[in-house]
């Protein structure tokens, strides 16, 4: 199974480009959706408890000034050994709640991520400082050291391989209807939003500081790490605080979509670095690794390490798209199977038609036995599904069912068989009502991407024609007449069959122009095997838009170009 290799053991993978993630972060930042200010003063109260104030507290800026001033005086008093003065200042510091150990007063730049070559389990998250200062008190009685953080970058590794989507937490977060979906499937569209991704990144251990990527003011790295660790100890423990890293964000509320045919039940993450066209931002991917039907994710060492970034398979890699969604061909075949079932049902619902066997090696056989007085007509329908192909000019997949018909007519006279003749779609001889040479019929389906993860199914029917397999002019005259009178019935029936099939499919596909009902159609039951236009095939349709459905035969996968395009609805 090549598909399993391509997708590193997973059933489905959604690959989102590095540029898209960074662009979306920038959007969140620009629109002030993620909090840009990172301001906090942390210290101890008089009775030794941790406390902090943030830039949202009134007098924050003044506190910093006062703190710096008093520490300066304390330092001076200590240096000059003016101990009574020193003692007074220390008391005052406690009284005025100025016993801080560190302080941040900064404005952040948009966060940025980058993927690491040959490392699929980690990525860099870079927090840039647009401006601001870090205030750090090395010792209790020393002056404050001030670091100018303008244009500094604090980068750390986020171990995404360990990220897990926690089901219980999700149920708590989700609304009523979404909760149901989560319980059933384990995942909601919400988990695939940029906001969720961002929160996931932020949950990482911040101390995973990377020196090579970071640019900090000289001599500040120790102060920085201590202050940042303290900062998180202070703020993260406060569960009501939405600010995990300096950036605050709310999970985006997305209304639950219908359960998709391919609904993921587990989610893991990895990255794929790609330097195609020397544009790592464009082709490197963040992978959402998904399993279907509660199958356990693979546990091999190579699980999730994709041989190649899936974005390299993108058909449209313009600014309109953001990545590639893929599913193993094997799983996609489930959908094709449902089409087979559908085709089968349209035939078996016809009056008098019996299924000999359903699709076996892409072939289905049906029979019909008819009797007129003593004469018999036996019809065999052989429906063959031809190999699935990508649509030649436009996007989409073409599916073709070949319809072959074989008819055996046995003519009796006074219960004695007087002759047996056959007609078929391969027959070459015309006569009387049989006006055309035999030809196979074709039922063509074109699968294209529709709205929000649905399919748009187009169909076309080429009518089959049957003709005599032997030259009827060589038949005895009397016999021929008998035969032709039998065939009158037969021909009209074949026309009805075709009409019935066309009508049924048209009705099922919700297409206009289905002609009026006939007796045969009424007998066709409602078929919900395939209510194509309304059925959600693909997951995440509320967050991603899909286009350019195609099979990547070499990789044994089915792929789409995707766009991060959340649905806006009431």
């Amino acid at each position: 199974m090549k598909g399993k290799e391509t997708l590193a053991g997973y059933d489905m993978v959604l690959a989102l480009s590095q540029n898209t993630i960074n662009y979306q972060f920038l959007q969140l930042y620009k629109r002030n959706i993620i909090h840009k200010k990172w301001g906090v003063l942390g210290g101890k109260t008089a009775d030794g408890k941790d406390f902090h104030i943030t830039e949202q507290d009134a007098g924050f800026k003044q506190k910093i000034k006062d703190w710096i001033a008093i520490q300066k005086k304390i330092g001076k008093a200590k240096e000059d050994k003016k101990w009574s003065e020193f003692g007074k200042l220390m008391t005052r510091r406690d009284e005025e709640n100025l016993n801080f150990t560190f302080g941040w007063d900064t404005t952040l730049a948009a966060p940025e991520i980058s993927f690491i070559k040959d490392n699929t389990k980690e990525l860099f998250l870079e927090i840039g400082f647009k401006k601001g200062k870090l205030y750090y008190r090395e010792e209790e009685t020393k002056e404050i050291t001030v670091f100018d953080l303008k244009n500094s970058v604090y980068a750390f590794r986020v171990p995404i391989g360990q990220l897990k989507v926690n089901k219980e937490q999700m149920v708590l977060d989700a609304g009523e209807s979404a909760a149901k979906i989560i319980r059933e499937s384990g995942l909601s569209d919400n988990d695939f939003t940029i906001q969720s991704l961002f929160l996931n990144f932020e949950n990482a251990n911040i101390s995973n500081f990377d020196k090579s990527k970071s640019t900090l003011p000289k001599g500040s790295s120790e102060a920085f790490q201590t202050a940042i660790a303290n900062y998180f100890n202070l703020t993260v423990s406060d569960s009501s605080n939405p600010y995990v890293l300096g950036y605050g964000i709310q999970r985006k509320k997305i209304r639950a979509s219908e359960k998709a045919m391919f609904q993921p039940t587990s989610l893991g993450f990895s990255t794929s670095y790609s330097n195609k066209n020397k544009k790592p931002g464009k082709f490197s991917a963040f992978n959402f690794l998904m399993m279907l039907n509660d199958t356990k994710p693979p546990k091999t060492t190579t699980a999730g390490i994709l041989p190649k970034s899936l974005i390299e398979f993108g058909k449209d890699v313009s600014s309109a798209t953001d990545g590639v969604f893929t599913i193993q061909q094997e799983h996609f075949n489930v959908y094709l199977k449902s089409l087979d079932d559908y085709v089968q049902s349209t035939f078996t619902n016809l009056d008098g038609v019996k299924l000999k066997h359903g699709f076996k090696n892409n072939v289905m056989v049906l029979t019909r036995h008819q009797k007129k007085k003593d004469d018999t007509i036996d019809t065999t329908f052989t429906i063959t599904r031809e190999p699935v192909k990508n649509n030649s000019n436009k996007s989409g997949i073409s599916l073709r069912y070949k319809i072959e018909i074989h008819v055996k007519v046995v003519v009796h006279a006074w219960s004695i068989k007087v002759g047996e003749k056959t007609l078929s779609t391969k027959g070459k001889y015309k006569k009387d009502k049989i006006k055309k040479k035999g030809s196979a019929g074709y039922l063509d389906f074109t699968i294209k991407t529709g709205k929000t993860g649905r399919f748009d199914l187009d169909h076309n029917l080429i009518e089959p024609n049957v003709a005599f397999d032997q030259n009827p002019n060589l038949f005895g005259h009397g016999f021929l007449n008998d035969l032709l009178s039998i065939l009158t019935v037969f021909i009209s029936w074949i026309i009805l069959v075709v009409a019935a099939i066309v009508n049924q499919i048209a009705t099922d596909l919700g297409k206009q122009g289905a002609s009026g009902s006939s007796a045969l159609i009424k007998k066709l039951n409602d078929i919900d095997v395939l209510n194509q236009t309304n059925k959600v095939i693909l997951p995440l349709g509320k967050v991603y838009a899909f286009k350019n459905l195609r099979m990547e035969t070499k990789q044994d996968i089915v792929a789409y170009d995707i766009a991060y395009a959340p649905v806006i609805e009431k």
Binding site: S17, N19, T20, N22, Y23, Q24, L26, Q27, L28, K30, R31, N32, I33, Q195, Q250, K252, K253, G281, K282, D316, S318, S319, A320, T321, D322, K394, S395, G396, K448, T449, G450, K451, T452, R454, D456, D458, L509, G510, K511, T533, A545, F546, K547, N548, A563, Y564, A565, P566, V567, I568, E569, K570
Partner: protein, 896 residues
């Protein structure tokens, strides 16, 4: 012309105002604007919309509201050939707009058109365009949309998917773009702003469904775009964008419902408001905004719906903002439309229906009364004739002071917003919209207010020379007539229209007629108290058969509103006619107006009305209940021109003049002798003081009608049209006179020049007066003797030599004139209003120069005669004959 203020009338000169308003037919040289598909509009100034649409030939036209122009609208053409698509973008920050059009398979972008410094009336000449093309020639450009910084256009190529291009307005280098879904057919796209990103809103078909999305332009840093999909339970069929005060557009998406999408500020969410109302599939939607007030118009098979977020609360009689009303049908026959919002004209809708003549119509709501008004937009068309029902008012100012009104102005305003014609120029007047009208020596003007029902309001006249504001109730006469004529149900049943037919259909229930008559009298009484502030008794009446159970119940008990939030105007325009049930009224005077409580079935409405206009509308609606519509009331109450009688009079004048001219030729010798004799006598009487005529009087026309005439829009009708007569497609009127005359006049003036050089400049002024008198004499407005007296009076003081020379010239010219007069006078002449009107009246007759002259006399004469005598002047054949025969002796000198 400047007049020395000491010669002008002032407040101390006891000016009296004489006015009269009539419900009457009126005529304008205008034609309706025909338009093809797509309309766009914007307000280029407060209350000044500029509408863009295609002509029937698919040229791009702009229709500009133009105060003080003939029809109020000016047409500008912005393309040479067919335009397949166009769009305009209004930049709110920098206050300019830009046009984009597709012409000749190219995209054309106009330069920036600033609102504050553009002469819009000549924009068609001053506009400049830049163009760009698609990459391949085989691509057909079919759609364009323009934004603040970019322009987008779509192309189709045979057998391929739709494409679109984006270009910076600075560079106009189109770059191809792809959709992020497999959209095959783009239905609508518009540049706009969503969630703080510039981009394209697009509506396209994807498979069998329709998708409405937004995609931003790629950013520079990452080359990525922001995307959003708008998805509701039902497909969105169309959308509209409205600029908001922050950077984002307010988005309206419509299908079975209308949703409003507003980008959150500093938050990720988009505020989605599902507006009240469920529709059959909406096909087209437009929205407009004025501050926080929004209006949405949506079209489907049932008609054009209107809804607003200014919800009229019946309890407080005030608007609640940001609460949407239920949709109501405002027009049944619109196909293409656009809308704007203003202050005095609260809502405006411009619509076209290609099935019914493609006329561009305007539906607008007056902010004061909230009443809706509909009219066809017209442009001046010299050869066209538009008949309108109107209130026409003639206003004159008199003073006994020997000073002039020349150079003074009056200010005209109105109780509620109106579009009126003042001296043939269109203006918007309203409570906060004043128009200054310059007066001439004649100190009079005509206000014509086209109406579609009998309601109208008071107009106010203010001037420095007036002691106080003069209010004119345009509908006064009509209200008085109604009071006098509709005294009872019986009177109503027997009332006859001017053509002798009954006003009310025979067999109408007498009970209903009684209630209608009583209701109208109540309304009229209400109208009176409104004008004179008298107390009003609380009255109530009902029209139609009221279900006794409903009647018994109190108003408070049965309050079920299905039309909440409607203003009175919305109610009368949309709900009343569809109610078709019995209606009960309660009228009572309250502190700030008159309170109307209306009960229709179980619904109870109440509004406080403040103007006569609203009461008039109610009276009209009461008549509507007994199927007496405005057309009927007009035939019942209005002054109708008796064109047959006027043509008859004209024919008499014409025959008279023809006779007179023949006789004049024979009389010339006698006249010449008389002149010579008289001149000698005049010279003897010469006195130098006659030479100096005060400057302030230099324009006074000695032959103008006596000032003792009362103001009357009917007899003054022709006078009110004179501005049109002097303007035939911009050509001076002299060129319209038959050429034979022109050549005589030309030779006359060239010879006159020599005399003028000898006599000096001051003489020219007198000559103008003489020439005018001469023309009047030819036209039959002045007797020949009076003309001669005028002539001699004016020439007194010149040297005898010059006068004799001049008289010779006059007589030579006169002799020539008479020879050709009969030919020349009977030549065809095309002049505005009169020619089309005459052709309409007589069905076919051609109008000659003489006809025109005679008509000018016949129109006021016939009207005045009919008003005075109650019949047409030439009703009987004998009178006419006698009159014509008098023409034979008219020039005979009878100096006794």
């Amino acid at each position: 012309m400047k007049v020395d203020p000491k010669f002008q009338i002032t407040k101390d000169d006891k000016v009296t105002v004489d006015f009269k308003s009539e419900l009457m037919q009126n005529y304008f040289p205008e034609s309706a604007i025909e338009a093809g598909t797509t309309i766009r509009s914007l307000m280029v100034a407060p209350e000044q919309p500029f509408i863009f649409c295609l002509t029937k030939d698919k040229q791009l036209q702009g229709i500009l509201r133009s105060e003080g122009s003939a029809s109020g609208w000016e047409q500008l053409i912005f393309s040479k050939g067919e335009v397949t698509s166009f769009e305009l973008e209004y930049n709110t920050d920098e206050d300019y707009f830009q046009l984009a059009k597709v012409e000749d398979n190219k995209v054309w972008i106009s330069d920036e058109i600033p609102l504050d410094s553009t002469q819009f009336t000549t924009l068609d000449k001053s506009i400049s365009w830049s163009s760009m093309e698609a990459v391949n020639e085989s691509e057909l450009i079919n759609k364009v949309s323009i934004g603040a910084e970019k322009v987008v256009f779509g192309t189709i190529t045979k057998g391929e998917d739709a494409k679109y291009y984006v270009a910076d307005l600075d560079e106009l280098t189109p770059k191809p773009c792809t959709l992020f879904e497999n959209g095959m057919k783009v239905i609508q796209f518009e540049l706009g702003n969503f969630q703080y990103n510039d981009g394209v809103f697009m509506l396209y078909d994807i498979g069998k469904e329709r998708s409405f999305v937004f995609q931003s332009f790629p950013d520079e840093r990452y080359g990525k775009t922001s995307k959003a999909r708008f998805d509701e339970e039902r497909n969105i069929n169309c959308f509209a964008l409205v600029e908001s005060d922050d950077a984002n557009d307010i988005v309206y998406g419509a299908g079975k419902n209308i949703h409003q999408y507003i980008s959150g500020i500093e938050e990720d969410t988009v505020d989605v408001i599902k507006m009240p109302g469920t529709f059959e599939e909406i096909k087209r939607i437009r929205a407009a905004r004025n501050g926080d007030n929004h209006t949405v118009w949506s079209l489907n098979e049932k008609g054009l719906y209107y809804q607003t977020n200014q919800f009229f609360d019946q309890e407080s009689q005030q608007f609640i903002t940001n609460k949407w009303t239920n949709p109501i049908v405002m027009a049944k026959d619109a196909e293409q439309f656009c809308c704007v919002k203003g202050k005095g004209i609260r809502n405006r809708l411009f619509a076209i229906n290609t099935k019914h003549g493609s006329e561009l119509t305007q539906l607008w709501q007056d902010a004061t009364t909230t009443l809706w008004n509909k009219n066809t937009l017209t442009i001046k068309g010299i050869d066209s004739l538009k008949e309108v029902e109107s209130y026409s008012a003639h206003i004159q100012f008199h003073s006994n002071a020997t000073k002039t009104f020349q150079g003074l102005q009056v200010q005209l305003s109105a109780e509620s917003n109106l579009f009126v014609y003042v001296n043939g120029e269109s203006y918007h007047i309203g409570p906060n919209h004043e128009v200054s009208i310059p007066l001439t020596v004649s100190a009079e003007f005509t206000v014509i207010c086209p109406v579609k029902d009998i309601a109208s309001c008071r107009i106010f006249i203010n001037a420095d020379f007036l002691q106080k504001t003069v209010a004119i109730n345009l509908a006064q006469q009509v209200l008085e007539d109604l009071e006098e004529k509709i005294t009872s149900g019986d009177a109503l049943a027997n009332a006859q229209k001017q053509n002798g037919k009954l006003l009310v259909a025979k067999g109408t229930d007498s009970k209903i007629l009684n209630s209608v008559a009583a209701g109208i009298q109540d309304m009229l009484a209400t109208a009176k108290t409104m004008e004179n502030d008298a107390p009003l008794k609380r009255t109530s009446f009902a029209i139609g058969t009221i279900n006794s159970t409903i009647q018994a119940r109190g108003a408070a008990a049965s309050r079920t509103f299905s039309h909440q939030g409607l203003t009175l105007g919305d109610f009368l325009h949309s709900v009343w006619d569809s109610a078709k049930k019995a209606v009960e009224f309660v009228i009572e005077k309250v502190k700030d107006g008159i309170k109307f409580v209306i009960k229709i079935g179980k619904q109870v409405f109440n509004w406080i009305v403040k103007t006569l206009r609203e009461i008039g509308s109610f009276i009209q609606k009461i008549f509507d209940t007994i199927k007496v519509f405005f057309k009927d009331l007009f035939e019942f109450l209005a002054f109708l021109f008796d064109w047959d009688a006027i043509v008859e009079t004209k024919n008499a004048f014409k025959d008279f003049t023809n006779e007179a001219i023949i006789c004049l030729k024979d009389e010339i010798k006698n006249i010449r002798k008389f002149v010579d004799d008289t001149l000698d006598k005049q010279i003897e009487k010469f006195s130098p003081e006659l030479v100096d005529i005060p400057d302030s009087l230099d324009k006074i026309d000695p032959s103008q009608p006596s000032k003792e005439n009362n103001a009357d829009p009917k007899s003054n009708w022709l006078n009110s049209k004179k501005s049109y007569l002097h303007d035939s497609s911009g050509k001076p009127i002299s060129s319209q006179i038959p050429t034979d005359f022109t050549s005589v006049f030309q030779s006359f003036t060239s010879q006159l020049k020599d005399i003028l050089i000898k006599s000096g400049e001051g003489f020219k002024l007198q000559m103008d007066i003489i020439m005018d008198g001469f023309k009047k004499m030819i036209q039959g407005k002045m007797t020949f003797l009076d003309f001669l007296k005028l002539l001699l009076n004016k020439l007194a003081g010149l040297s005898l030599f010059l006068v004799k020379q001049l008289m010779d010239l006059i007589f030579v010219s006169l002799d020539t004139l008479i020879s050709i007069a009969q030919v020349g006078l009977n030549k065809k002449w095309e002049i505005p209003i009169i020619t089309p009107l005459y052709k309409t009246v007589t069905k076919s007759d051609e109008l000659t120069f003489l006809d025109v002259m005679c008509l000018f006399v016949a129109i006021p004469t016939t009207i005045l005669y009919k008003i005075g005598e109650g019949k047409a002047p030439f009703g009987e054949g004998k009178t006419k004959e006698e009159f014509i025969n008098r023409g034979k002796t008219i020039f005979q000198l009878n100096l006794n």
